[in-house]
């Protein structure tokens, strides 16, 4: 059936709905493009035939193929756009350097680096020294938060040069911005009392 491959691509993305990026399905995309090509060629020949021979009964099948072509186009565009949005979210989630396991699935490194550059130039243009808008995604309640260490992480340095030893089950009261990274990595846990 036509357009099945396209639906498969969409389903693939839907399966991983929590923002993870599955591997780029080059094969699927190529198959869809091939399908589109063959449909287009068939349509071309049919249109020529219909025009020259005046065979009006070919028109419905031309219309059908045309609809399939449009549908394939929409599906592919949606697939690529959704991946783009997910890659953009990665920048906000992980910062400008992506960890290795995330980068594995991406093939559009170029777009990512361009996005990074434009975001960075925007941030630099705000205020006197620039403002890092990727921090504090939600308005913070306090400057310092209490965190609990879930696993041994060794030594950790904060802005004024002091070093903290992160040992399992120790609790610390640290500046919020330093802890966010480690909270995302799962080393620290925010304690709300």
């Amino acid at each position: 059936m036509f357009c099945e491959k396209a639906i498969e691509l969409i389903r693939e993305l839907q399966r991983m709905s929590d923002g993870q990026l599955p591997a780029f399905n080059e094969d699927g995309l190529r198959q869809i493009l091939q399908e589109m090509e063959s449909l287009y060629e068939q349509n071309q020949s049919d249109v020529n035939e219909a025009k020259s021979d005046g065979r009006a009964e070919l028109i419905p099948s031309i219309k059908l193929r045309h609809c399939c072509l449009l549908r394939n186009q929409r599906c592919v565009a949606a697939y690529l756009y959704d991946r783009l949005l997910r890659i953009r979210a990665l920048r906000w989630e992980y910062g400008s350097v992506l960890p290795a396991n995330v980068r594995f699935h991406m093939c559009a490194e170029e777009w990512f680096s361009q996005y990074k550059k434009s975001l960075a130039s925007f941030m630099r243009s705000l205020g006197a020294d620039g403002l890092d808008i990727t921090q504090d995604m939600k308005p913070p309640k306090s400057l310092y938060i209490e965190v609990r260490c879930l696993k041994d992480h060794g030594e950790f340095e904060i802005d004024d040069g002091t070093v903290i030893l992160l040992k399992k089950n120790s609790q610390h009261f640290l500046p919020r911005w330093k802890c966010e990274q480690l909270i995302r990595q799962g080393v620290l846990e925010h304690v709300m009392s």
Binding site: Y144, R148, N169, L174
Partner: protein
């Protein structure tokens, strides 16, 4: 040295610094820690909190953190030992110690630079005066020996006359020195002989909060729990408990005063602390009344519930009060309102007839939300059960117990209450079996009981607080059940297996049970001496010196040494 103005000398010093908090594993320390943490949150003082369970832990934690921190706050640990010698810190490390363990080591008292004690000085401390213990090096000794060498090399007629005078003076000085040293040893021995506890650390920190006018009801509640912990675990005398309750009562009425004028000013979710003259039945509001009576040590010992007679008396008691068995055996919340209304007075009247004069005790209760009412007692039992839960390791237990003290972690508190119920039942059953099978033996100067490995719930009793609780209940039960007048005045030593693979037992000693006991425990020193004399392999790791770990094989010779030592 003792800190006189806790705000200036402690809080303002650490306010702009980073502090390491080393907290011992008992409820009072946890409460004190919570109070200090909220003060630090208020003022954004950066800190690191490390739980410690014994001296070794303290040493390790100090070594790990000494590079990064200059200020250390020790809660409920460190006062009763020479800290500087044990930890060997750098000269710029400062220790603030808030500890209930007494006697405070004399070096800690007289060190001016590095050790600051956050302890009230009017807590009858009895610290020996400086001159009695410390003495500067005698310059005259040096002069004398110089003279001596001169005399040795050139004895002449004239010098011989000076000789005799100098020799006499030297002999006199040496005799005085020996006398002084003997007196010093005696003074130190008297001072360090008995171990006891002082004012709760949580109350000290609450006072700090009050001086800073940053005290809240949460902090007040934690201070109350810290004080109640001292009473539940029998660390302070009844007089002291009553005095401290009066102090807390002043704070409670000050906090409640704001709401007296308007009727409905406070929302139901706000916290209300109230003074209660409530029953001495553990966890009775979260259990059924019957179970609570059976498993609280006061009632169970007075009725002697391990005997058939005792059971009958209990039934009589309930009948006397007019409480139907069906009501009494169901959950307290579901009892009829008509019964619950005057329950306390009814129980007090009837228990007077059965010889239980103090069934009611002064305490505090908290009330927040529609169904959350807790007495300070309940919180202490729940928290202690979480702190020593056998299922998880020490670090997790500490975190769980610390969390359960916050109002937002009610499910943890409820799980703690369940664990506490199981623990109380286990204690009761063990006490009953020990008394019925005569496991308590009189060894002369003390009573002794050993829990065999196969005893049910013995894992629960491999932890110090639980074992101490069992020990106290057992002694009380024994005193009520024995007819031997002499045995009633003896202290009790109890041993239970601690670690089966390593083959160690944990040994706990408690002072004799009496109405007016001053809770002073001499077993710390006794254990040390006995271990030395028999070279048994012991580990004096716990902050309470009367709790030690011992290798199972050395048990009998250790006991023999103790018997000879104490008789």
């Amino acid at each position: 040295m003792f800190v006189t103005d806790i705000r200036k000398e402690f809080y303002e010093v650490v306010a702009n610094q980073r502090v390491a908090l080393l907290v011992a594993s008992d409820i009072d320390a946890l409460c004190a820690c919570k109070i200090l943490q909220s003060l630090f949150h208020c003022d954004q003082v950066q800190y690191t909190l490390v739980p410690v369970t014994g001296w070794q832990d303290l040493g390790t934690a100090f070594l790990e953190h000494k590079e990064q921190f200059r200020y250390f706050v020790l809660i409920n640990c460190g006062a009763n030992v020479d800290l500087l010698e044990m930890l060997q810190p750098d000269d710029d490390s400062v220790f603030f110690i808030c500890d209930t363990h007494r006697p405070v080591d004399v070096v800690n008292v007289y060190n001016d630079s590095q050790i600051k004690l956050l302890i009230k000085q009017d807590d009858d401390l009895g610290v020996p005066s400086y001159d009695d213990i410390f003495r500067d090096e005698d310059d005259e000794e040096g002069g004398d020996s110089g003279n001596e060498s001169d005399e040795g090399s050139e004895p002449s007629g004239k010098r011989r006359r000076f000789d005799e005078g100098a020799v006499e003076r030297r002999i006199e000085r040496q005799r005085a020195k020996r006398e002084w040293e003997a007196r010093r040893r005696e003074i130190l021995f008297d001072y360090e002989q008995y171990e006891y506890h002082g004012t709760s650390a949580a109350m000290m920190f609450f006072e700090l909060a009050w001086v800073l006018t940053k005290d809240t009801k949460d902090m007040l509640w934690w201070a109350v729990i810290g004080l109640t912990d001292q009473w539940v675990h029998d660390k302070i005398t009844h007089m002291k408990y009553v005095t401290d309750i009066a102090t807390m009562q002043r704070h409670v009425s000050r906090h409640n005063h704001r709401n007296e004028d308007e009727e409905n000013s406070l929302s139901i979710d706000c916290m209300r602390i109230s003074f209660e003259y409530d029953l001495r039945l553990s966890l009775y509001q979260h259990w059924s009344l019957y179970e609570s009576i059976c498993n609280s040590s006061y009632t169970s010992c007075n009725f002697k519930l391990w005997t058939l007679n005792g059971q009958k008396k209990l039934q009589e008691f309930l009948a006397d009060m007019g409480l139907p068995l069906k009501q009494v055996r169901q959950k307290f919340h579901s009892m009829d309102m008509s019964i619950k209304e005057n329950l306390r007075e009814v129980i007090e009247e009837s228990s007077n007839k059965y010889g239980m004069k103090d069934i009611r005790i002064q305490t505090f209760g908290v009330h927040f939300g529609y169904k959350n009412r807790f007495l300070a007692n309940d919180m202490v039992h729940a928290c202690a059960a979480l702190l020593e839960s056998a299922e998880k390791d020490d670090g997790d237990n500490f975190i769980n117990a610390l969390d359960s003290l916050s109002r937002s972690n009610l499910d943890r508190l409820h799980s703690g209450i369940d664990l506490a119920k199981r623990k109380l039942i286990a204690v009761q059953q063990t006490v009953a079996s020990c008394i019925c099978t005569n496991l308590i033996l009189s060894q002369g100067p003390f009573l002794y009981c050993y829990l065999m490995e196969g005893t049910p719930d013995v894992k629960l009793f491999s932890k110090p607080m639980a074992l101490t609780l069992l020990c106290k209940y057992l002694l009380r039960a024994f005193v009520h059940s024995t007819r031997n007048k002499r045995c009633k005045l003896l202290p009790l030593i109890m041993a239970a297996p601690r670690d089966v693979e390593k083959g160690t037992v944990i040994v706990v000693g408690i002072p004799p049970e009496s109405e007016t006991s001053d809770k002073k425990n001499f077993f710390g020193r006794a254990f040390e001496k006995a271990a030395e004399s028999t070279s048994s392999r012991t580990l004096h790791d716990h902050f309470d010196t009367s709790i030690i770990e011992l290798k199972t094989e050395d048990r009998s010779k250790f006991l023999d040494a103790l018997i000879t030592l104490l008789s």
